[in-house]
Each structure stands twice: as structure tokens, then as C-alpha cells.
Symmetry: C2
């Protein structure tokens, strides 16, 4: 949450931030923020605040985000897969989409950005050859089972699932389920708070 | 976060949950969870835990999620817009996509699910007629400016932005920026922790 907030501040051109300004969007109190950040080292100066870029870089390094990660997309032939393959927001955050997969023969060979869609049966070999660490799953809920066997066999350990069906993590694979409805719920809460105020 | 966790538990068929089980995935301690939930009323029983469905329903009501909300999609002609228009995860969480918009004449009239794509110039009238409360923005970063004037004029107060460029909230419009790279970063942190353990 700190990293996300610092990313926003940096995008907006903010150079310094106080613990109070950092606390507000996160719903924390400034004392908690100062305590948390003190764990990472000496970053703030009383009355001056934190250097946004320096604190951001340090957190990113702790969280392992300075390393460039290779990413593959399963279900690249669908609309969401297309959108993810062409999404401009991953590369600047050190994620590089290097391979696309689908099981539909009609989309194999189709080029999106820098990559052509391969058949899912090539997943295992491609993951090893290109050092892919994370797979994004953009397949319909009904196809999850049929692709999951390929994923298990590929030896991949991290999966980002966009299907509206939660996949549990296993001992081998850490699954993070993206829940788009949660993003709408965030706004709902705001709508109601607003209507109370006005 | 509580609601999201309770949704997962309910999806998985869990009937009762202890403060300890609720605390673990959130990185909280059980005492904090008991304290938080006590604000909402008497839900838990010592040694028995919380009834998942009852607690979930109560939180959803507090957060204003029992009300069905009408949603529109701007940029429905693109791949992400298509994916959002056909996404199965919104309706069961009380969000109903009732209108689709784009500015590209070639996609106007195209039917996705229950709706046909309308020209963005019809936004204002349609928002009022269908009581749309939230707009999802699925336009390329370069098109954000050109659609934003239509959005301002429509009187809408809540926008979910999927473009990889942050839009600031204004006095009139609360913008929630979806950051897909953050979801990958979550997995990165896991990858590194894993490699320390093994």
C-alpha cells in the first residue's frame, strides 16, 4: 500500500511527502506511518518529510521489484488476453510479457505486440527457455480446468488469475485472484458516503 | 478487506470462521479482528467463531453493496472494454452493466451481451435515463482527455479508470484507478519470499 501510494505521488511529480500526507489516503494515522517506515531505515526528517523517489526505490527493492520479471499470458486469444498483452502499464514496472498462449487453433500465430500466440502445449518448454516466472490467466471460467494441467506441468510457481472464479493456491503454485468487482465496490462506498455528506 | 476475505470463504463453502482464520490472510492479529468486528455488533461466539454468511451480509449492507448499481462502460469497442462488458463477475456482486459507449463509428451498434454500443455523445442522456452511477473507463491513455469532457458533462460522480495513466479525483468526480501492475507485484513479493525459504 505504501508503494502504491508513493507510485501515485511520484507520477504526480511530488518530491517530498509528510507522514500525515502519506497516512491520509491509506486510512492510517501519521504515527503508525512513521513507525512503519522507521523499520526500513532513516528516511524522514522532522519538518521536511520523506523524499518520495528515495523511499519508493527503497521499498521497491525490499519487495523484490527491482528485478525484471518475465511474464506469460494464457488465454491470449480472448479479449481480456488481448488487452493484457497490449497493456502499457507492465513494462515500466519491470514486468515483461514474453510469451502468449491459447488452446484455440484459430488464434495460434496471431501477433500481439512483440509476441505471437503459441499453442498451450508449448507452455512447459517456453517457460523454461524464457525464464518465465509469472503466468497471467485470462481464460473463461469454463476453461480453467483444462489449462491448469499444463500450468502444473510447466513448473511455474506464480499465477495471476483474472477469471471470475477463485483458484486456490497449492503447495507448488501461489495464485493471486484479481477481483474486478472489488474495484467497483470501492466506488460504491464512496457514492454512499457522498450522499450522506450532501 | 474483511468483505473480500468473507466472499472467498463463502465461495469456498465455509460456514464458520474464527478470528484467527480471518486474521491470517489479512496479516492482522486475531485481537484486532475481534475489535474491528465488535464495532459492527455482536457477531462472534467464543469458541465457535463468526457465521460467515451473516457477517458478510452485514458488512455488505454497511458498505452500501446491497443496492443494485447501474454501470456504463466507456471504450467498449476495445479489447478491455469487450472483456469488461462480458465479464461474469459483476452481476452477482450487484453491479449491472446497462450501457456501452465508444467514439469509434465502426463499433457503434455492435452488441455485447445485453447491450449495443452507443456513441459517446449519447452518454449524458443515457446516464440520466438509466440511472447509471458508475462509469468504467477502458479507453487508451491517449483518448482519456477526449472522453473526459463527455463524462464531466454527464454528471456522473464515480469513475473506475483502467487506463495505465492515473486520473486525479476532482470535487465532482471520485476516480478509482485500477493498477494491474500492482497485482503482479503482489506475486513478485511471494516469489522472493519463496526463494528465501527453499
Amino acid at each position: 500500500m505504501y508503494l502504491r501510494t508513493l507510485n501515485s505521488l511520484e507520477d504526480a511529480g511530488t518530491l517530498m511527502v509528510s507522514s500525515r500526507e502519506l497516512a491520509a489516503p491509506l486510512g492510517l494515522n501519521p504515527a503508525q506511518v512513521r513507525k512503519d517506515i522507521a523499520y526500513f531505515g532513516e528516511f524522514g526528517r522532522r519538518g521536511v518529510g520523506y523524499n518520495v523517489a528515495r523511499l519508493r526505490d527503497h521499498l521497491a527493492e525490499i519487495l523484490g521489484m527491482k528485478t525484471r520479471r518475465m511474464v506469460g499470458i494464457v488465454g491470449a486469444g480472448g479479449h481480456l488476453g488481448h488487452a493484457l498483452a497490449l497493456h502499457k502499464g507492465f513494462e515500466k514496472r519491470n514486468f515483461k510479457v514474453v510469451a502468449l498462449f491459447d488452446k484455440d487453433p484459430r488464434v495460434i500465430g496471431q501477433v500481439l505486440g512483440e509476441n505471437a500466440i503459441q499453442h498451450i502445449s508449448e507452455l512447459s518448454e517456453t517457460v523454461k527457455r524464457l525464464n518465465i516466472e509469472i503466468l497471467m490467466l485470462a481464460v473463461p471460467a469454463t476453461e480453467l480446468n483444462s489449462v491448469f494441467d499444463y500450468i502444473l506441468l510447466s513448473g511455474i510457481t506464480a499465477v495471476l488469475n483474472f477469471a471470475p472464479v477463485r483458484l486456490p493456491s497449492t503447495d507448488e503454485i501461489c495464485v493471486h485472484n484479481v477481483d474486478l468487482a472489488v474495484e467497483l465496490e470501492y466506488l460504491t462506498f464512496h457514492l454512499d458516503r457522498n450522499s450522506v455528506v450532501t
